[in-house]
Amino acid sequence: MSELRVLWMPLAVAGLAVLVLLVDVLAPPDRTARTGRALGWLVAAGLAGALGASFSVDGSGRAALGTYDGGAWTTFVQRLVVGAALLGALGALDDVAARTPKRQGEYWLLLLASLLGMVIVPGARDLVLLVVAFELMGIPLYVLAAYAKNDRTVDGAQSRAGEAAFKLYVVGAASTAVTLFGLALLTGMAGTSSLDGLAEAPATPLGTLGMLLVLGGIGYKIGMVPFHMWVPDTYEGAATPFVAFLSVAPKVAGLSVLALLFVSGLGVHRGAWLPPLGLAALLSMGVGNLLALPQTDLRRLLGYSGIAQMGYVLLAVAAGDAMGVGMTLFFLAAYVVTNLGAFLVVHAASGGGRGHGLDAMHGLFRRAPFLALALLAFLLSLAGIPFAVGFWAKLYVLLAAWRAGLAGLVVAGIVLAVLGLFYYLRVLQAAYMIDEEGERATPRASPALGLAIALCLAAVVGLGLWPAPLVDAASRASVDLVHPSAPVARR
């Protein structure tokens, strides 16, 4: 029974997936878009339930032959991905119902399958489980990226979702191969696949090579330079509500693996992985911010901005201590609500196939004041401006990195952040300053989408004003990982 208690979250997500499958199969097939939203709401309710339950269920302990740990760290990451999935589901609900009224089950099943992978990842303490969960997370995303394959773009051209998915796929598949190759070397040289075992295994050149190849594989998932090139294209081509989810949840999972594998498992070999990781962080911040400057499509812009954001969080990972991990978690929490919110606003503001260019935002302040306000908050948060949660996120990440002796990278990050401000402000300029009178229709966010945006906004502002609880929670979760209190850890 205790095994089930520890594994409750993956089980709950799997159960929800089964429930969705059953409802989808058993419900009458002639559903309209209106009634069809029920399935989406079911998913959302289920996820909300799981999220709520995570605050009362104590899942700590080991399960599945010690390959899964359900402590504070796991719970925290799970809350983040489930929360992201919930917000993503709310945001996508109408889109899915409108796009494929009769085949909605596919979308939700794939989403939940991917989520299942994500909730296992942070708990995995064995590389086999880790890699399976990681792929379980990744493969459905390829399919989901192609989900809008029948859409037409604003200029009448055919959908680019296929291309989006393909680019995601090719880079992803190649990275998976690299990861597997690396894992083979790593586990082979260490003779074990458990993380605790890896930590104790002596360093070998081949093992180090394997470790670094794995880093490359994870780098792909989080869009770290130079594994980032799919990001803008996929964000531009795939359905926006899905991109909202794609832009946050896999990154949370990917970074949790990074923390799990490198900080916790291979922390002893920090000397080997820190320099490349630091370089990648620097490149991510630089390339992301620089290439975002000339973008005019908001999804591409947010894509590049996301690359830059990953650069910042990598600094905290590179710090390699409990504080760094804690601040990574804090950053991710802030990033989830902020970036997801930003994409949802872009989605809502461009509703009705108006396109996602900067000009789609013109006069937003007049047409949809709430969306404009939300956009303001999200962009300022992304830019790291005080009293939005993104400020604290960036601050902590940089502080953690400086404390760990990465002052040079921190300075570069701070300088590059100003560059970032330029393009965020340009979006605000489009939304607040440029206005062609009365030309554009008023975008209306549906209740679900509006709810999702409002939740994100509340989180961004609320945590911006009062970040202490989240900081404490993140710190506790990180301590759980980096200094395991349970003696079970050493098998």
Partner: protein, 603 residues
């Protein structure tokens, strides 16, 4: 009432008037209430000032009432308040008396102005009186500086009173610029003084070098304020203001503030012989130079303006020669007769609506009071024996005699002759002879408000010499007058000057200027000093400003723009990396992998 309370009253009265007029626009725009209030304040001030004077005559011990005004590090840096002593008492009386006369005169003179302008005029006057009193009663040089600057502002406002007239507007600004330029010396002098002595008092004992620096800096300000060469250029232009203003500010009181400063700071100047020498030379030179220029002016106010420069030169020379009493007494008598001259000139101008002496003529017959006043003033100015100017000038000449090989003395004597000559010219051309135009023929005497002050000032200008003894007493000195060689010579020159003027101008009306004068005229018309400033302003200051502004816009800001441009350009160029081809994306990732592998191997 104690002397300090009385002195305070001279501040409070005009301050109240100015404040009320500032905050109650209704009073100002109606005109007459403003005038009434202002004159009331002046009457009170005059009464208080005379009270101070009589108190001082009885007991010349200085008394001070002051409160801390600036404090740093909990130490008082400067105080404000009032000080009463002989210098203050006499200056205060002169200032308030002349101010009241001028204000009363203005009632008639400015009568035709629109009501709001009339009110504004008197509001400025109240402000001026306040500023001047602040200056006079100052217990230290900082407050004196404050008053000094404030009178500068009121001068600016009053010169620009006819602000719609471009020439008046220019003149006002010019006056302010020139005096402000000189005031930098005052400020620097104050700072040097404070750092050297720890206070802004004028009784500090300084090292000889410091004393010279401080006094030279202060004297620089005097050159500006008292219109000494080469900063005299603003004074003739300042005649754009209403004539009573010229009488009060630009003849009797404000321009004399420079002289007052030197008198006040006499203990400092006494420590700096070098400065005094400079003053002596510059004063004498200005006296002569300005008198020459006065010779060729045809505008009656310009004549008087240059004459003011010249007489201020006298005072400065006296102070340079170390005769505080000579300079200061000449200041006093000058205040009376120059105010008188200006007011009389104003009366004439009011009658003929022209400043040109050529447009006047024979005014003495139609306007006997005005004519008489002007003649009295001219005689006093020229230093004809018996009139006030004779006695004060005598003190000056006596002080200067023998200094620097008597060259300044000679210059001042020459000036005395020239003074008599140009005043004689104005008297002859404007007030005697035949009227030259219709207006001059129809000129008539103004009302009582204008005649009254003429009479009062006329009496003072004529008989002011009697004040010499009590004046000296205020400073604890003795005064004797002896008709020796010097005074006789000066008297002869003065009378000779008038005679010469009559000979030249009395008969041949409208005749061309005699040859030497024509030469002076030609030189004067080039206005070489003004040109220099003009070039300095346009070619140096404005050009520098334009150049810096260009650099700021296109180089300094340009570099910052360039940074932004470069970044944007870099972003735009770097986009090309994102080719859209999936294999390229894989290639990038694999290069990353290769990099990692290389690192793993080489590490």
């Amino acid at each position: 009432m104690t002397p300090t309370t009385l002195a305070l009253t001279t501040l409070v009265a005009p301050a109240s008037a100015a404040l009320v007029l500032a905050v109650v626009p209704g009073l100002r725009s109606r005109g007459w209430p403003a005038a009434a209030l202002c004159i009331l304040a002046s009457v009170v001030s005059l009464g208080a000032a005379l009270g101070v004077l009589s108190g001082c005559l009885a007991d010349p011990t200085p008394s001070v009432l002051a409160v801390p005004w600036l404090r740093t590090s909990s130490v008082t840096v400067a105080e404000i308040g009032v000080r009463v002593d002989g210098v203050v008492a006499s200056m205060l009386s002169v200032v308030t008396l002349v101010a009241l006369s001028v204000q009363v005169f203005s009632l008639g003179y400015m009568h035709d102005e629109p009501r709001p302008a009339f009110g504004r005029y008197f509001a400025y006057h109240a402000l001026f009186l306040l500023s001047m009193d602040v200056l006079v009663v100052a217990p230290n040089l900082l407050q004196l500086f404050a008053g000094w600057e404030l009178v500068g502002v009121t001068s600016y406002l009053l010169i620009g009173f006819y602000y719609r007239k471009p020439s008046a507007a220019r003149a006002a600004v010019k006056a302010f610029w020139v005096t402000k330029f000189a005031d930098m010396g005052f400020l620097a002098g104050l700072l040097t003084l404070f750092v050297a002595s720890g206070s802004f008092g004028w009784d500090a004992h300084l090292a000889p070098g410091t004393a010279t620096v401080v006094t030279l800096l202060l004297f620089f300000a005097v050159v500006g304020k008292s219109a000494q060469f080469p900063l005299h250029v603003w004074l003739p232009d300042a005649m754009e203001g209403p004539t009573p203003v010229s009488a009060l500010l630009h003849a009797a009181t404000m321009v004399a503030a420079g002289v007052f400063l030197v008198v006040r700071a006499d203990p400092l100047f006494a420590q700096a012989e070098a400065t005094r020498t400079v003053m002596l030379v510059l004063g004498a030179a200005t006296a002569l130079f300005a008198a020459l220029l006065a010779l060729v002016q045809t505008d009656i106010k310009k004549v008087l303006a240059y004459s003011t420069c010249s007489q201020l030169g006298y005072m400065v020379a006296a102070l340079g020669a170390g005769s505080m009493i000579g300079g200061f007494f000449h200041l006093t008598t000058h205040a009376f007769f120059k105010a008188l001259l200006f007011l009389a000139a104003g009366s004439a101008i009011h009658a003929v609506h022209s400043n040109e002496i050529g447009d006047m003529g024979g005014l003495a017959r139609r306007m006997p009071v005005t004519g008489g006043a002007f003649v009295v003033g001219a005689l006093a100015l020229a230093g004809v024996p018996g009139f006030s100017g004779f006695f004060s000038k005598d003190l000056v000449l006596e002080a200067v005699e023998g200094k620097l090989a008597s060259l300044p003395w000679a210059a001042l004597l020459a000036t005395a002759f020239l003074t008599a000559f140009y005043m004689g010219r104005v008297v002859v051309v404007a007030f005697f002879g035949a009227p030259t135009g219709e207006k001059a023929e129809r000129a008539h005497e103004p009302g009582w408000s204008m005649r009254g002050p003429l009479v009062v000032l006329g009496v003072l200008a004529a008989g002011g010499g009697v004040f010499a003894a009590p004046f000296a007493h205020l400073y604890g000195r003795e005064y004797h007058f002896e008709m020796g060689v010097g005074p006789s010579l000066a008297a002869a020159l003065a009378i000779g000057g008038f005679g010469a003027a009559y000979l030249v101008f009395g008969r041949a009306k409208g005749a061309p200027l005699p040859a030497p004068l024509a030469l002076v005229d030609r030189v004067a018309k080039t206005s070489i000093v003004n040109r220099v400033y003009e070039v300095g302003y346009r070619r140096v200051a404005l050009a520098l400003a334009d150049g810096l502004a260009w650099i700021d816009r296109y180089i300094v800001d340009g570099l910052i723009n360039l940074l932004g441009y470069g970044t944007l350009e870099a972003g735009a160029r770097a986009r090309a990396v994102q080719t859209g081809l999936a294999p390229d994306y894989v290639l990038a990732a694999m290069l990353g992998v290769a990099g990692l592998a290389v690192w793993a191997v080489l590490r």
